[in-house]
Amino acid sequence: MAVIAEPVAKPISRYRFILDRREVLEAVLVAPAILYVLLLVGLPLLLAVYYSLSAYTIYNPTWTFVGLANFEQILQDPTFLDTLRNTFIFTFGSQLLGLVLGKFGAFLLLQPFPGRKIVRALIILPFAVPVALATIAWQWMFDSLYSVINWTMIAAGIITREDAPNWLGNPYLAMLCIVIINAWRFFPFAIVIFLAGITAVPQDVIDAATVDGAGFWRRNYQIILPMILPIMAIGLIFGIVFTFTDLSIVFLLTMGGPGGATSVLGFAGFQTGIVSGDVAHGAAISLFMLPVLLVVVIFMLRFIRRREI
């Protein structure tokens, strides 16, 4: 501690002097992060927009400007409209299912019971494990011949081996499969979000409502639900963004099949832009995500603001 008492006789360099100004130091510290993000997110985003307006392919990398021609061609393609529809079904179907499961799961996990920690750890698994690995586990469970789900249904006498469903070979079932997997992946997230929200509601507010004669349902839907709405919205926004732009589940499970029945935007963009090398059309397909993302971002900003009040 003696050091502190002595006058510090260091050579005062210009550099030190500049760093001792608060706003300069703040700018210097935040600059690398901002630079990184600008160069590798901002710039590519602009590049993606430019690609979509050009005739760029990997075989003919020209920067010829073609205006909105790519978008017009895409919109005239009936399979693209199917892809768009699939993306919405996939996103909202799985989020809805995930939310319902999450609400019930949170309701159960709210009560204390022996082994709750272990149960919670097990229920978190689907959200924790890399989605690509979980998807191939599901692919094995949906196998056309060795499906454990079919085996169980056959053993239970619900179906016979002859009319056992071919999960990934039937267009409707394949869509159901990707919705189920995604809902399965997100419901633990929904549970945790619900739990975090509910435990943050002050007990005295609930007590006051009870004293004033509010019953179970009233407490749940008129007191607790409005209070946890902002945090739920943030969770849902994450779910929507990551589902709407997902590629891995469809790529690994169905390859968009059968017959394009499960093709989603991310997958179509990948197939056109990377596999076929038609960068311009691929970028245009991917950019159809942007309106949804913008809406979501606006909501996000509103909820982050509201949170502070």
């Binding site: 590519p44 943030i234 990377i274």
Partner: protein, 281 residues
């Protein structure tokens, strides 16, 4: 209805409900374990009961994985990628989080939200232009491309997480250090950073798990087997033509999934606090 019967009915319903959720969540992993240790003759016999071992369990699949495939190489690749990305993230996100937390007025908050929003820009929107940038840099088909690109989502997320943490750190500690002769920068390095070790540890764990979970960029940029990270290798490289080696695939998925699952369970609350931006107090 008499009280005890109603109570026991509710108890049974509760147990059934919890059981349903546990089976729903954990069954695919149970299935991975069972498949990974089953003999092939047991695995591909539809007359066997699939839920348990009908023949003695075997380590054959795991042995095959390490001896006949590039599995060990993929593990090493993932480790190298994880370590490098974590280093880049720490060097940029710790100062950024600190700076955003200490900025006066609403400028810091606004800038923080902007950085965080870039976390929501999806890989499927950026992979085309990024693959072009990667090619320009001569990194195509190399795992170093992932080291370059992964920080684009770890930096925003971790800056945001650390910003919340530094905000909770009393500014008086640094002011005291400055009064005692510390420079502004010294107050950050010698006071704020040592006090934020728990938060930095969280960032390390999350950066690592986020790199392990990533799939889209790896799929886009890398096609040579020996450059693949573990998630991509297991899910795309163990399939020969149309033949799926389910025992090996499930064993590989299991080994890759276990560390991530443990890390998540330990740090889940902080992750949620990060995502919701401290909406939970």
């Amino acid at each position: 209805m008499p009280q005890p019967i109603a109570r026991s009915l509710r108890g049974t319903g509760f147990v059934l409900g919890v059981g349903f959720f546990v089976i729903l969540a954990a069954f695919p992993f149970y299935w991975m374990v069972i498949t990974a240790f089953k003999q092939n003759s047991d695995l591909y016999d539809v007359t066997n009961i699939p839920f348990w071992f009908n023949e003695p369990p075997t380590l054959e699949h795991i042995k095959y994985l390490f001896q006949e495939t590039l599995f060990a190489r993929w593990l090493l690749n993932s480790l190298i990628i994880g370590v490098c990305v974590t280093a880049i993230t720490l060097v940029t996100a710790v100062p950024a989080g600190y700076s955003l937390a200490r900025m006066t007025s609403r400028k810091g908050e606004a800038l923080g939200i902007m950085i965080f929003l870039t976390y929501l820009v999806p890989p499927t929107l950026l992979f085309l232009p990024l693959s072009r940038i990667i090619a320009e840099l001569g990194l195509q088909n190399s795992m170093w491309s992932l080291v370059l690109v992964y920080p684009t989502f770890t930096i925003p997320f971790c800056s945001w997480l650390l910003m919340g943490f530094f905000k909770a750190l009393p500014v008086e500690i640094e002011e005291a250090a400055i009064v005692d002769g510390c420079s502004l920068f010294g107050a950050f390095i010698k006071m704020a950073v040592p006090l934020s070790v728990p938060a930095i540890l969280t960032v390390v764990i999350f950066t690592f798990t986020l790199t392990l979970q990533e799939f889209v960029y790896a799929l886009t940029f890398i096609s040579s087997s020996d450059q693949k990270p573990i998630t991509l290798g297991v899910s795309t490289d163990l399939i020969r033509g149309d033949v799926f080696f389910w025992g090996e695939i499930m064993a590989g998925a299991l080994i890759a999934a276990i560390p991530v699952a443990i890390a998540y369970n330990l740090f889940l609350d902080r992750f949620i606090a990060g995502i919701t931006g401290g909406a939970v107090k």
